[in-house]
């Protein structure tokens, strides 16, 4: 069971949206497409779904070329950013839609799917009155109930408030565990939490595919380091904030510019002797403006 995206390019109304995209997805992989807005994440997802035509390249499933296969025959499940629930159908009929199309029995599976997403007893409700979180679950149940061979999720938590998103994130992890999935987000902490691997997208192509840990600990270039949220990124290196310690025999001299209590730790910023400014969370701040620091520094290529 694998999906291969090879050399894919997409042109929409004369504008090149994707160029030379390569990606391979195995068995139960959850790959997160992570990138700033406009980097082509959603277009890539839609290309895999067959919703936009390819200008170049190929997409195949277990060696079978998918390009000529229309969307409705690709056997995939997709969760749209706005959920795209059918307003004229109840929750139950929304979930049953894919099964009814395939003329499969829907009663049992729909009940099971609703139970799985925690919406027992919602089958006869209208989708119009549902909260954002409930709509998201219906969309998820609707996609999962057809037993798709691949799940595609386009910013599924994007329309929810942060705390609800956090809660649904662990549920999503559980539900997506048994099948391969491509998950689009621009939120790096969401990406880190859910991804087996992250595909970093920039300017219409995938620039790197790696595990969240590898990308965080070794961002390799300054663009990646900044994009995934490292604070102390300089022209050719970065200083992980977690490595910064105040210590009387530290090897770097520094001046404290600002300290804010951030609950348990102090958010501190320093000017180093070479003029660079770094920030860190420290536990036990030394008195006075002049301190000594210890930290490690990693080289980066310019990106």
């Amino acid at each position: 069971m694998n999906l291969t995206v090879a050399g894919v390019g997409v042109v929409i109304e004369g504008t090149e949206i994707l160029r030379d995209v390569n990606l391979r997805l195995e068995a139960t992989d959850t790959v997160v497409l992570l990138g700033p807005s406009g980097s082509g994440k959603t277009t890539l997802l839609r290309a895999v779904a067959g919703l936009v035509p390819l200008a170049t390249g190929a997409i195949s499933w277990d060696g079978e070329d998918l390009v000529a296969v229309p969307t409705h025959e690709r056997r995939l499940g997709m969760v749209f950013q706005d959920y795209a629930l059918f307003p004229h159908l109840t929750v139950g009929r929304n979930v049953a839609f894919g099964l009814e199309i395939r003329r499969q029995d829907s009663t049992g599976p729909v009940e099971a799917a609703l139970r799985m997403v925690g919406l027992d007893g919602f089958a006869h409700r209208s989708v119009e009155g549902l909260s954002g979180g409930e709509q998201q679950r219906v969309a998820l149940a609707r996609a999962l109930v057809t037993r798709p061979r691949l799940m595609l999720l386009d910013e599924p938590l994007g329309a929810l408030d942060a705390s609800l998103g956090e809660h649904l994130l662990s549920e999503l992890r559980r539900l997506l565990a048994p099948l391969p999935a491509i998950y689009v987000t621009h939120d790096r902490s969401e990406a880190m939490a859910i991804a087996d691997r992250i595909a970093l997208m920039r300017d219409g192509t995938i620039v790197r595919v790696d595990t969240p840990v590898a990308i965080w600990t070794n961002p390799m270039d300054t663009w990646t380091a900044r994009f995934i949220g490292h604070e102390n990124v300089f022209e050719d290196a970065y200083v992980p904030a977690s490595s910064i310690r105040e210590s009387p025999d530290g090897i770097h001299g520094a001046t404290v510019l600002d300290r804010r209590f951030a609950g348990g730790l102090w958010h501190s910023s320093y000017r180093l002797e070479d003029g660079r400014i770094v920030t860190a969370l420290v536990g036990d701040p030394s008195p006075g403006p002049d301190v000594r620091l210890d930290f490690t520094q990693h080289g980066l290529s310019k990106g």
């Binding site: 067959g50 690709r74 499940g77 997709m78 795209a84 059918f86 894919g98 595609l152």
Partner: protein, 509 residues
Amino acid sequence: MTTRRRWLVIVPVVFLGYLFVYPVARIITIGLDGAASTLWATVTAPGTAGVVWFTTWQAVASTAATLLLGLPAAWAVSRLGLVRSRWFLAATTVPFVLPTVVVGVAFSALVSDSPIEHSALVVIAAHVFYNLSIVVRLVGVRWAQLGDHLEEAARTLGAGPRAVFRRVTLPALAPAIRAAGSLTFLLSFTAFGTVLILGDLRLRTIEVEIWRQATQRLDFGAAASLAVLQLLVVGLALAWQERSTVPRRPAVRSRPRTRSERRVARIVLVVLSAMVAVPILSLVADAVGPTSLAALSGGEVLGLSLSRAVITSLTYAAVATALAVVVGAATSTAIAARGRAAAVIDRLVLLPLGTSAVTVGLGFLVALDWPVDLRASRALVPLAHALVAIPFVTRTMAPALAAIPHRLLEASATLGATPAQAWRRVEWPIVARAALVGAGFAFAISIGEFGATAFVARPADPTLPLLVYRALGRPGAFAIAAMGSTMLMVVTATAVLAVDRFRTGEEAL
């Protein structure tokens, strides 16, 4: 402050009460006079069944034909997007805003001396021409706003193109199709001008029959009974339509379509535009000639003076517009102040629209002899026109007023402004645009109004539409009718398109 404004509700209550509720009540009393015996006699009269049957079947056929042609156009509009198809939307709006007399004359010009002249087929064709834009606007705009997400979701769930259309697109469009269909039915059912002109009294809808009974046979009892019958049917249709309001949804960006789809969509729109253009062009072609130019240059030709009718129409329209804007503004202010009475007025103000102009005219004739006899007064025509136009003014101004944040009025009060000053310095500048749009509608309506005017205008001062109708009845004067219609078309289309442009500008702000 707003509580005080609620008293403005008295303005529409008096206006509508005297000019609409009271006359309609008189019609009902006359219609039901003698323990419903008049009504019964009229309903069972030999001609009535035929009139009701024709009214109904032509309305059903017109609705079916309009949907049949309008749905492909709606599809094309949704594929090309609202921006790319705006010229088509504007082109199909022209027939809808044309006075019914003009539509009648245009189709007369098209089929004169052909075997289908005065046939139901021409009446239905005219109704399709007139109502096409309802389907295109309501369904097309809705279709475009559906976006692609629902259809895409259905595709990812395994639905092929036909299943997507049947299970997702059609149900989503159903409310809009129902709304467009019932509105088309209502307008065809209550058709007056087109049927009067194209049917030559051989084909009669209930409206035409009311007019014939009241003005040709002077049988006000029969006319009133028919008006009651019509009110019943229209009331039922409106109640049904009320239930099928189109739910508002946020506009969704449609994705670009395939090139071949766009090509087909363009062809559909070009063909339909041509179909809309043919009657208009044939009207203009018939208008130009020595008789019509003579009638236009001030002289009386065959007893008809175009120039005098133009002046009469413009005068009436100016008075009617002023009246409609004043009463409409008072009504809108009361509605925006959200009093309980205003909520009722909000509904009541729409009633003259649903009741049909002929009923309004008949009501004036049977009721306005009290407290003073107004029936021979010049004031009747602008009063009737204002009554028909007020709903349009209210529907444009009330939302604009209601959208003004209450905080602005509070702020102006803290700065020392009286309610009147706040209205003049804060609210009016904000809603002036909406008022102008309402005034444009009112003007266009007044210029082209035929149904009510046919009852209340004094024979010596015909309006332009009445003159056109009169010209149709005189041998050799068809060119004058065509010229008058062309002028009506130019004036109303210009007014409405200008207003439409203005409104688009307003939304852009």
